[in-house]
Symmetry: C2
């Protein structure tokens, strides 16, 4: 299993990471730079998860809590998200996408996609299926990786 071909998984991961980095850069340039990667990541998490506390948002988005405090502050200022009081815990507020935030996120996705279409539209339906299949494999594992990093020290006794 994992010891069969020890280098194979690792090489694949390294390649994936490298491609991911270049794609992220490309997307930012293609989208016209209006906002940054961290912002889109945050908005994406909010869109898929709904109102979320700041700490959980940081964890899902893969940044430290103070970093998320800054990002959220910027997003609030620009009206992309709002803070909703959590009546059950007054230390906390839930961060929620506003209508504007929703719209802006969708526009951004459309803009990125539109800008990259010329580079990708020669894909055949079969090739697109391949990419889609790969995405389905990768996505849950990325999420798992984030979780593992967030709670790496698990007490042996539990």
């Amino acid at each position: 299993m994992s010891t069969d071909q020890p280098d194979t998984v690792r090489a694949l991961i390294a390649d994936l990471v490298q491609a991911g980095g270049r794609l992220t850069r490309l997307a930012r340039r293609a989208s016209g730079d209006e906002t940054t990667a961290a912002t889109w990541r945050t908005l994406s998490v909010l869109q898929s998860s709904g109102p979320t506390r700041l700490g959980e948002l940081a964890q899902a988005s893969g940044v430290a809590q103070p970093t998320m405090t800054k990002i959220v502050a910027g997003l609030v200022e620009r009206g992309r998200v709002e803070r909703v009081a959590d009546e059950t815990d007054h230390r906390v507020s839930l961060i929620a996408l506003t209508g504007t935030g929703h719209a802006v996120l969708n526009q951004w996705r459309a803009r990125v996609a539109e800008a990259l279409v010329p580079a990708f539209d020669d894909l055949t339906p079969e090739q697109m299926d391949t990419i889609r299949a790969a995405l389905e494999l990768i996505r849950p594992r990325i999420a798992r990786g984030h979780q593992e990093l967030t709670a790496p020290i698990r007490k042996v006794i539990d």
Copy 2:
């Protein structure tokens, strides 16, 4: 062809970009943060392309020239790259990986891969093939996208 299912390519691109962003973040965290994404991108380009002028490096890496000047300055300071005079053009020097730079890059890749193996090592060989195939499809198109963004205004007369 591309007008058949107008949303399909775009949706796929948007998903890809999103996954790429999350993977990049994950890699940075997993690698222990020693250095940043921009640095690894730059070193990777140097490793695959050999000594390169700063402007070309910026273009390949997808950043503006002054940004690359900064990144290279940092890398030189830390001994990861060196500037080699270009005798044919004194405005220019070639940026080259040092032995240290090479080693550090390889270590980083190994470290990232190692850190992410637990999240990916349940992939079957067939699934890995799928991912590899997708990568082969995506990589050249990312490169193409960068090129298109870099030289977007092509004189009609040429």
